[in-house]
């Protein structure tokens, strides 16, 4: 409940700033001014560029590792009751994680420049 109230306040505050910035200035739109920025030239072709495959690979790696971190988080509440079984279980998990990283590294998935 309080979270929603805080969220609403944050939304109202930010929208207020956006609305102020929207209606306070006077405008004079023209064609040249509203064309996308390209160092003073007319845009040559569409800006929906194909991008490097490396970025896609980073996103995939992020997905895997972030998921694994999310799976590691329950260790923390679990650590307060039975700690002796914690080490072998989490070690197995960490070894799999590290082996995945090593495999990715060895296959060259982490190399940015050839």
């Amino acid at each position: 409940m309080n979270f929603l109230v805080f969220l609403t306040i944050a939304i109202i505050l930010s929208s207020l700033l956006l609305i102020v910035g929207h209606f306070l200035p006077s405008r004079s739109l023209e064609l040249e001014k509203s064309s996308p920025y390209e160092c003073g030239f007319d845009p040559i072709n569409s800006a929906r560029l194909p991008f490097s495959f490396r970025f896609f690979l980073v996103a995939i790696l992020f997905l895997i590792f972030d998921l694994e971190i999310a799976l590691l988080f329950p260790i923390i509440p679990a650590s307060s009751n039975n700690i002796s079984i914690l080490l072998p279980l989490s070690s197995v998990f960490l070894i799999i994680l590290a082996a995945g990283l090593a495999y990715e590294w060895q296959q060259g998935g982490l190399e940015w420049a050839e």
């Binding site: 309080n2 979270f3 109230v5 805080f6 969220l7 306040i9 944050a10 505050l13 930010s14 929208s15 700033l17 956006l18 102020v20 910035g21 929207h22 306070l24 200035p25 405008r27 004079s28 739109l29 064609l31 001014k33 509203s34 064309s35 996308p36 920025y37 390209e38 160092c39 845009p43 800006a47 929906r48 560029l49 991008f51 970025f55 980073v58 996103a59 992020f62 590792f65 972030d66 971190i69 590691l72 988080f73 260790i75 923390i76 509440p77 650590s79 307060s80 700690i83 914690l86 080490l87 989490s90 070690s91 960490l94 994680l97 590290a98 990283l101 590294w105 982490l110 940015w112 420049a113």
Partner: protein, 323 residues
């Protein structure tokens, strides 16, 4: 009545944050100025103290425009989302009491701060300009890469404090700050926060020589001001978070209300100054060096340190700090 009280409390917390963001811009220009043997802004008001308000006024009366090819809704929604997320994050910070009492506050902080990626991606893509698209992609790749190392660094800390609540993390450091046993983690964490907030040696998203300004190149006036405020609010937030996690929050007097807040702010100011100092000292990284640093250095190292801290906990047969 309770809700009214809460609204007043939240506003009394959020408005000073916006003001502190304004003053951070002044501090940055002053510190950078003096580090380069200049004076920085000193004309508007005494010692240039009114400069940030003049800047804000200027930004909000500047003409804002949308490029003709940009996607209309996403273009204006992204800066809004960025600022909303930056403000919501602050509700969870205990100085020394959080505005929102959440049990798993650090988890919520991680989740909400990950959402900021959508704002970067949205603004970069919706501007429909080559520079902003490239800047947006770079920003997203950098932010998500460093999020992983930050998550693993946090795991090592959390396994010793035994709680996700930022307040309990502060309380667990009453006798010993986390920076003493976890010094290597502290260095990695500080560098990761620099990269996460796109600050100086890692500001590849706005590499002026190649990308002009990065994902916000098409924004002018009000929406640009939103990005600016959100970025600086995130910088202060990250520093306060580092204080709470590694340097014990209001540690020597964390139970005395006002003094604890003052101590937290003083420590945070010192860290913000460190951010500015780094900006004045170091040249920009190359993008492959940036990725090399997080994927090949921090990720394996933080994995290893996590197993080490876990093993220490098990070998000494000590349970984590429990209130």
């Amino acid at each position: 009545m309770d809700i009214l009280f809460f609204i007043i409390q939240a506003l009394a917390f959020l408005v000073p944050i916006l003001i502190s963001v304004a003053f951070l811009t002044l501090v940055e220009r002053k510190v950078l100025g003096y580090m380069q043997f200049r004076k920085g802004p000193n004309v508007v008001g005494p010692y240039g103290l009114l400069q940030p308000f003049a800047d804000a006024l200027k930004l909000f009366v500047k003409e804002t425009l949308k490029p003709s090819t940009a996607s209309p809704y996403l273009f204006f929604f992204s800066p809004l989302l960025f600022l909303i997320l930056a403000l919501v994050l602050w509700s969870l910070i205990p100085i020394p009491q959080p505005t929102l009492n959440v049990n798993l506050s650090l988890l919520l902080v991680l989740g909400v701060s990950s959402l900021a990626v959508y704002a970067l991606l949205g603004s970069g893509w919706a501007s429909n300009s080559k520079y902003s698209l490239l800047g947006g992609i770079r920003a997203v790749a950098q932010t998500i890469s460093y999020e992983i190392s930050m998550g693993l660094i946090l795991l090592s800390i959390l396994i010793w404090t035994g709680s996700f609540s930022l307040k309990e993390i502060t309380l667990s450091q009453q006798n010993c700050w986390m920076l003493l046993p976890h010094l290597p983690l502290l260095f990695m964490w500080l560098i990761s926060t620099l990269a996460e907030t796109n600050r100086a040696p890692f500001d590849l998203t706005e590499g002026e020589s190649e990308l002009v300004s990065g994902y916000n190149v098409e924004y002018a006036g009000g929406p640009f001001a939103l990005f600016f405020i959100a970025e600086y609010a995130n910088i202060i937030f990250m520093n306060v978070l580092s204080i709470i996690i590694f340097m014990g929050g209001g540690s020597p007097f964390s139970t005395i209300p006002v003094i604890a807040s003052l101590i937290i702010s003083t420590k945070a100011i010192a860290l913000v100054f460190f951010f500015l100092w780094v900006r004045a000292s170091y040249p920009r990284f190359r993008y492959d060096q940036l990725m090399h640093l997080t994927w090949k250095n921090y990720l394996p190292l933080s994995l290893g340190l996590f197993s080490l801290t876990l093993s220490i906990l098990v070998i000494t047969n000590s349970s984590p700090f429990i209130l």
